[in-house]
């Protein structure tokens, strides 16, 4: 198509100009020109003129009827509308003029010159030719015009296999049997269905699991009668996984419990399948498996700590190889979950098993699944209401063992003492209920801050049932207009680092300018999504999962939902990248970036993400703040 002589079009009319290497290089580093083939890049460069723009001649550019594409090469300008309202600060690498090109509308915006410089210009014909020849170029401008720049990252993100939802690899319904059926009928069913395990299910509730190995070890070897009921030889209350969890989570659970069959439940606790380690093997073999296995083979605290010490280096090399860096947060969370369970198990091996049911709760980033290497611990214990003081003693001791063990494994103790070893956070269901009720009824700033932490929770070990009861209970409590309005107000007071003229507002420290991606963006976005979740009774902790459940079921429009998800993905990816590749002697704080060091595309996307958060802030104030 490029060899077609009509390709170069008639609109240029100058034939093939010579292209300077500097021009080509700048274009090749500027999205969406970076996506053009060498021939199209050449064409783009040949069609381009440069214009010197200063205060004296600023009216020469952007004539009402000449639709052109503009790219800032040097200098700085403000784009203003006809009422002189500032729309955008334009800096080198920024594109403008395309909305009029796409819509054919008259140009009414004007430029104000902050610093003189050069602006590159393409005529409408060249712009259209590039759009016609390159889908990526076309898509970029359509997205940019629809303020959908964050969707652009989609092309570079491919879900890693281990990030896959378990639901996507379950291909058959579980073969199940009632607990009162005989062992022989169970064996017959397994034989007929050619499966190596059965789920034991009564009234749609999972009671246990029965495997080939159980038939061998607990029936044949021991000489149990085949007429005995399945309940007598099954593994009761087996480890389980939810369909919405990832293969990482499954790997963690299976590796840690050393089991080959893992029942999969849906959100209503109904069994929908069994995940086997063959299923996992069929997925691409990957190194996380090896790391997870090494962690779970550790048979002492010392061995576990030694394996955990390898995690940071491992994550760095892993991060450089995955397409979607967001997966690193999930992996780290999975590892932390696994280490926690392993520590509990090691303690049980030394000191005896837990005296009653319990839940080891994770809060904050571990609960949400967006942990980073610097994240500290946020955990607690949920205990049954009927617990005795004697039983509490066991938990007081295990919590110290686990929290200190986690710290030795590299997950820092929480400076705010939000840890299971804090006696104030070893509560039974009623006590937790009281605590939440107090925050909800008198939402002081401190109470709101606590809610932000404690409403993001997830059970890491122990009884899922106990956790579910607790979580559903507090979800009901949270649906209080006044409480939600107070959270909305708190969110409204947080500063998104996007100033007037769409300009980054950086913090400075000496010579260093930076933006704290965690505090100034991700945390606010999480707060906003949490508020919608509280209002809608959504109890899952991770921000993407919450957004998924909020779809068409809340006051959040699908478009805003999508925007928030894309902004979240971009920001968490950026934050992780910044952290992974942070120079040891970097002067800027971790979780922060200096916008100057970002690529042009990243800067544009960062602005777009901040815009999404700002808009959502206003939305939240409007929707929930009115009840004040």
């Amino acid at each position: 198509m490029v060899s077609d002589t009509n390709f170069y079009g008639s609109q240029g009319g100058f034939g093939m100009a010579s292209i300077s290497a500097d021009t080509r290089e700048f274009l090749a580093n500027t999205p969406p020109f970076d996506s053009l083939s060498a021939e199209l890049l050449q064409y783009a460069a040949e069609q381009m003129q440069a214009m010197y723009v200063c205060h004296d001649n600023r009216q020469d550019i952007m004539q009402p009827d000449s639709h052109q594409l503009y790219l800032v090469r040097s200098g700085a300008y403000d784009l203003v509308d006809k009422e002189n309202q500032h729309l955008d600060r334009l800096e080198p690498g920024d594109l403008f003029g395309f909305p009029s090109l796409l819509t054919g509308r008259k140009i009414t915006n004007k430029l104000q010159v902050i610093a003189d410089g050069i602006i590159w210009i393409w005529p409408e014909g060249a712009f259209n030719e590039l759009r016609r020849q390159s889908q990526a170029f076309e898509r970029y401008f359509v997205n940019a015009h629809g303020q959908r720049l964050l969707a652009e990252q989609g092309k570079t993100q491919g879900a890693d296999w281990s990030e896959k939802k378990i639901a996507s690899v379950i291909d058959r319904k579980p073969i199940q049997i009632s607990s009162t059926a005989s062992i022989q009928s169970a064996a017959q069913l397994m034989s007929a269905e050619r499966v190596s395990c059965l789920l034991v299910v009564d009234d749609q509730q999972l009671r246990g699991i029965l495997t080939d190995r159980d038939l061998r070890n607990r029936v044949v070897a021991v000489g149990v009668s085949f007429d005995v009921s399945v309940a007598a030889v099954m593994t009761p209350m087996p480890a389980i996984i939810y369909a919405r969890d990832s293969l990482f989570d499954a790997l963690t659970v299976m590796g840690q419990a050393n089991i080959h069959h893992l029942p999969v439940l849906d959100d209503n606790e109904i069994p929908i399948g069994v995940l086997t380690n063959t299923d996992l093997m069929q997925q691409q073999r990957s190194e996380p498996v090896l790391l997870i296995n090494a962690l779970f083979k550790a048979n002492s605290r010392e061995a576990l700590v030694a394996e955990a010490a390898k995690i940071p280096d491992y994550l760095r090399s892993f991060a450089s190889r995955v397409k979607d860096i967001g997966i690193v947060g999930r992996l780290l969370t999975s590892l932390t979950d696994g280490i926690t369970r392993k520590l509990i198990r090691l303690y049980e091996q030394e000191q005896g098993s837990a005296p009653c049911t319990y839940v080891w709760l994770a809060f904050g980033s571990q609960a949400r699944g967006d942990q980073t290497l610097g994240s500290d611990q946020d955990n607690a214990l949920l205990l049954p209401d009927e617990i005795t003081d004697g039983q509490r003693q066991w938990f007081a001791e295990v919590s110290v063992y686990v929290c200190e063990g986690l710290a030795d494994c590299g997950i820092r103790l929480c400076p705010g003492n939000i840890m299971a070893m804090n006696p104030d956070l070893q509560k039974n269901r009623l006590e937790w209920r009281e605590k939440f009720l107090k925050w909800i009824r008198s939402p002081t700033p401190k109470a709101i801050m606590h809610c932000m932490i404690f409403f993001d929770s997830r059970p890491v070990a122990g009884s899922h049932q106990l956790y579910r009861q607790h979580r559903e209970e507090i979800a009901k409590l949270a649906k209080q207009d006044m409480f939600l309005a107070n959270i909305a107000r708190h969110i409204g007071e947080l500063n998104v680092p996007l100033g007037l003229f769409n300009h980054f507002r950086t913090k400075s420290e000496g010579d260093f300018e930076y933006i704290d991606i965690k505090k100034q963006a991700v945390a606010i976005l999480n707060d906003i999504v949490r508020l919608y979740s509280l209002a809608a009774g959504v109890t899952v902790p991770s921000t993407p999962a919450r957004l998924e459940q909020l779809k068409s079921a809340s006051s959040l429009s699908d478009k805003d939902n999508q925007n928030l998800l894309e902004a979240w993905q971009f920001l968490t990816g950026l934050r992780l990248t910044a952290q992974m590749y942070r120079n040891e002697d970097s002067k800027i704080p971790s979780n922060s970036v200096d916008p100057e060091t970002l690529s042009t595309m990243q800067r544009r996307q960062l602005k777009a993400a901040f815009k999404v958060i700002k808009d959502a802030q206003h939305g939240v104030a409007f929707k929930f703040g009115r009840n004040m």
């Binding site: 240029g12 100058f14 100009a17 010579s18 292209i19 300077s20 290497a21 500097d22 021009t23 290089e25 460069a45 040949e46 069609q47 381009m48 003129q49 440069a50 214009m51 010197y52 723009v53 200063c54 205060h55 004296d56 001649n57 020469d60 040097s74 200098g75 080198p92 610093a115 003189d116 410089g117 050069i118 210009i121």
Partner: protein, 206 residues
């Protein structure tokens, strides 16, 4: 005679209507008189625009041996072998530069090399004027009574004062475009508040 009349009118027209042409030449050495022209780049300036879509860059096929300056401008023997004969390059240039005012950084060097080459091929061409961005800059800085360091008048140093990026120097086309940008920055600054003709702007860069 007619040319002189045309030139007279040209120089008395508002500077933004004049035909400016930024050029840069790469040679075999730094001695304008003795060394051969290896490459020539030119780009039209139609203030405030630089017509980069009409920019040209030509390598000259010379049979001279390359001296060490080949290292500076990165032209290889094969680049030179693939070049065009001097006559062809100059003929194309003369056509493009007819009745133009030349803009160059350290313009004297370029015009001497150019006239030398024209003489060698028996061609004739005279620009309507020559504007040297280096001299204009020196004049401007001296007016501000700034003390000049030896390297404060390089193309890169001059550009930096107007907020322009670094550029990959010593490639004729990069240099010609870099020089064109500098010219516009100087000219717009000089002409701010009044409407000088080409002639009075030329005095700045003489």
């Amino acid at each position: 005679m007619f040319e002189k009349v045309a030139s007279w009118h040209h120089l008395r027209a508002p500077w933004r209507e004049a035909k400016w042409l930024a050029i840069d030449i790469e040679t075999n050495g730094l001695d304008a008189k003795g060394d051969a022209m290896l490459a020539l780049a030119w780009v039209r300036i139609a203030p405030p625009r630089i017509l980069q879509n009409q920019a040209e860059y030509r390598v000259v096929n010379t049979n001279l041996e390359l001296t060490q300056s080949a290292v500076i401008h990165q032209l290889s023997l094969s680049d030179i072998a693939a070049g065009l004969p001097l006559e062809e390059v100059l003929a194309e240039f003369v056509k493009a530069a007819e009745g133009a005012i030349i803009v160059a950084h350290n313009a004297q060097f370029d015009t001497v090399v150019l006239q030398q080459a024209l003489k060698q091929t028996g061609m004739k061409w005279q620009p309507d004027g020559v504007y040297c961005t280096l001299r204009a800059e020196r004049r401007r800085l001296e007016r501000q009574s700034q003390t000049l360091k030896p390297d404060s008048l390089t193309l890169a140093a001059c550009r930096e004062r107007y907020g322009f990026d670094a550029f990959s120097g010593h490639h004729a086309l990069n240099d010609a475009i870099a020089c064109a940008e500098l010219f516009l920055a100087q000219a717009f600054r000089f002409s701010s508040g009044h409407h000088p003709n080409a002639r009075s702007l030329l005095k700045e860069g003489r």
